[in-house]
Symmetry: C2
Subunit: 313 residues, 2 copies
C-alpha cells in the first residue's frame, strides 16, 4: 500500500512517527508529501495526517481512508479541499485517554482542595490551611461525553466526586448524573463547583463559554478548558474572573497557540496556563491504533472512530 504521512510538526517529531508507523506497517511505500506524478498519486490509498497543510489531500483519486493522528479534527475539517467522500477517522489512543483523565483529575483535586491558592500563598509567605471538603461535597460538571469526556466523568466519580455529565443527546454513565439539552445545561451549570470542557469544536459549540454561560454558573465556580480555545470568549472569561463570578480557570487551550506573551491570562492570578499538554497522542500506542484500522480497511471490515462529517466530530 502507498501511504502519505503529512502533518505540521517539527522534523524530529515527524521522523519519530515515521519510524514507529513503519514498524507497525512494514513493507509499505511511504510518502512525506503528495507524489507529483499522477500515476504515483493514484496509488496512494491511505493518508495519515496530523493537521496537514490545506490542499495536501486533494489529487489523490484512490484515497480510501484519512486517518488523523490527533483526537480533534476541527482544524482538519476546515480544509475546503478535504475529499468529502473519503472516510475520515480520528485518533482514539489509550495512552492519550489516560493522560486526559489524569490532567482532569489533577485540576479537580487542586481546585477542590485549594492547592492552587496554597501555592499562591507560598509566594506570599502565608501559612493558611484551606477548608477540607469531602469529594462527595464537590460537584463537577463534564461537558461532552464522548471518548474523552465519558472517561473523565467516570474517573472523577471513581474518586468520590459528585459528577454530572452533559451532552447534546441523552447518554448513560455509571455513577454520573447525565444531563442533556438546554434545560439540562442550565441545571448542570447552576450546580457545579467545577466545570470541565471536553466538547468537540463545531459551529454550534464555538464561543460556548460566553458571558451568558458564565452568568449561569454557580458563583465562585471554576472552569477547566481541556478542549479548544475557540470554545471560550476570552474577554468574557476575564470579566467573569475579575467580578468574582468565577474563582479560577485552568486553561490548556487558547484561541492562539502558543499563547501570545501579551495575553493577560499569562499574568492573571487566578488563571493556570497549561501549554496544550493536557493529553498528547502517544506515538507508540497510536501506531498500533493506526495499524488496526489499516488491517480493517484491507479486510473490508468496519473502520474504527470514523468522524460524522455533518456533525463535525
Amino acid at each position: 500500500m502507498s501511504i502519505l504521512l503529512s502533518g505540521c510538526w517539527p522534523a524530529a517529531e515527524q521522523q519519530q512517527w515515521l519510524r514507529l508507523l513503519q514498524e507497525a506497517l512494514p513493507g509499505e511505500q511511504w510518502w512525506l508529501a503528495p507524489p507529483s506524478d499522477a500515476s504515483e498519486a493514484a496509488q496512494v490509498e491511505l493518508a495519515i495526517v496530523a493537521n496537514p497543510e490545506a490542499g495536501v489531500l486533494q489529487g489523490l483519486p484512490n484515497l480510501r481512508l484519512i486517518q488523523s493522528l490527533w483526537a480533534g479534527v476541527d482544524r482538519l475539517m476546515q480544509d475546503p479541499t478535504l475529499p468529502p467522500e473519503v472516510p475520515l477517522a480520528r485518533m482514539v489512543d489509550p495512552a492519550m485517554n489516560e493522560a486526559m483523565v489524569h490532567t482532569a483529575l489533577w485540576a479537580v483535586l487542586a481546585l477542590h482542595r485549594g492547592f492552587f491558592e496554597v501555592q499562591t500563598q507560598q509566594h506570599q509567605g502565608l501559612w493558611r490551611q484551606p477548608q477540607q471538603l469531602r469529594a462527595g461535597e464537590w460537584r463537577v460538571l463534564v461537558l461532552g461525553l464522548g471518548e474523552l469526556g465519558g472517561r473523565v466523568a467516570q474517573g472523577l466519580a471513581t474518586q468520590g466526586y459528585a459528577v454530572s455529565g452533559w451532552s447534546r443527546r441523552p447518554a448513560d454513565l455509571i455513577d454520573v448524573q447525565t444531563l442533556h439539552g438546554e434545560a439540562g445545561l442550565v441545571q448542570g451549570l447552576d450546580a457545579a463547583d467545577s466545570v470541565i470542557n471536553l466538547l468537540p469544536l463545531t459551529e454550534q459549540t464555538r464561543d460556548f463559554f460566553n458571558a451568558a454561560r458564565f452568568a449561569a454558573m454557580k458563583r465562585g465556580a471554576s472552569l477547566v478548558n481541556l478542549a479548544r480555545g475557540a470554545h471560550v470568549v476570552e474577554e468574557d472569561l476575564l470579566a467573569a474572573l475579575d467580578s468574582g463570578q468565577l474563582s479560577r480557570a485552568v486553561l490548556d487551550v487558547f484561541r492562539q497557540e502558543p499563547l501570545p506573551s501579551s495575553n493577560p491570562f499569562w499574568r492573571h492570578p487566578r488563571v493556570t496556563v497549561l501549554p496544550h499538554c493536557a493529553a498528547q497522542t502517544d506515538a507508540r500506542s497510536a501506531a498500533a491504533v493506526v495499524r488496526a484500522n489499516v488491517l480493517a480497511l484491507r479486510a473490508g471490515q468496519p473502520l474504527a472512530h470514523l468522524v460524522q462529517r455533518q456533525q463535525g466530530y
Copy 2:
C-alpha cells in the same frame, strides 16, 4: 459516663468538636479540663484528646480509654505523664483517609506530568510542553504501609502507576511491589521517580531522610513528605535539591509549624510548601468513629485502632 475533651486548638474548633461529639454520645457528662475535685476526677472514664497539654491525663485513676482525634500520636506519646496502662486509640477517619489519598495523587500527578514546572514557566511567560510519560513508566515508592500508606499505594496503583511500598515488616498489597528491611529500602529508593513518606514518627524513623538516604535515591527523583517534619533533615534536603540529586520536594509537614518565615523552603523554586493540610480529621465522620469505640468499651468488646505503645504507633 464522664468524658474529658482536651486539645490544643482554637476555641471555635473545640466548640465544633464538642457539639458533634455530644450529638454522637448524648447524655454524657463532659469536661473541657480535668476536674479539680478528686471524686469527680475519679469518675472520668474516657479522655478524647487532640494533642493535649502534657500532664492533663494524670490524676484520672479510672480512665479506661484515651481516644486521640488525630491519626498521629507521636506528640501525645512524648508526654511522660501519659498513663502507661490505659489503652490508647488513634484516629482512623474515612474522610481523612480519602483526603490523604487525594493529596498524594495530586502531588504524584503533578510530579509525573510536569505540572509544577509548567506553573513555574507560566510565571516566566514560557510555553514549553513537558514530556508525557505513561503512568506505568513512573515508579512511586510509598514508605510506610499502615492505614494511610497502604491506601495511598493502592490508590496510585489504580491510576496505573508502577508502585512499590516499603514497610519495616513484610506486607502484601494488590498491584503493589512490597519491600521490607534495609535491602528492600535500598532497592526501592534506587528505583523510584517519586518517594512518598507516610512512616510513623518513632525514634527509629526520626531524621530518616538524611544525606545518605537522599544519595541512595535515583538522581532527579522527588520527595513528597506527608508524615512528620522530624522525618527530614532539612539542611540535607536543601543540599540534595541544590545539587540536583533531588528535582523537587512537596512538603506538608515541617520541624517547626507554622513554617517560620525565615525558612528557605518558602522561597525555594523546587519546593512546594503545603500548610499541614494534606489530610485533616473530619469532625463529622470522626465523631462516629469515637462513638463506635465508646460502644465497644461499654460492651467489653475489642477496641479499634489501639496504639502499640512499645512500637510507638
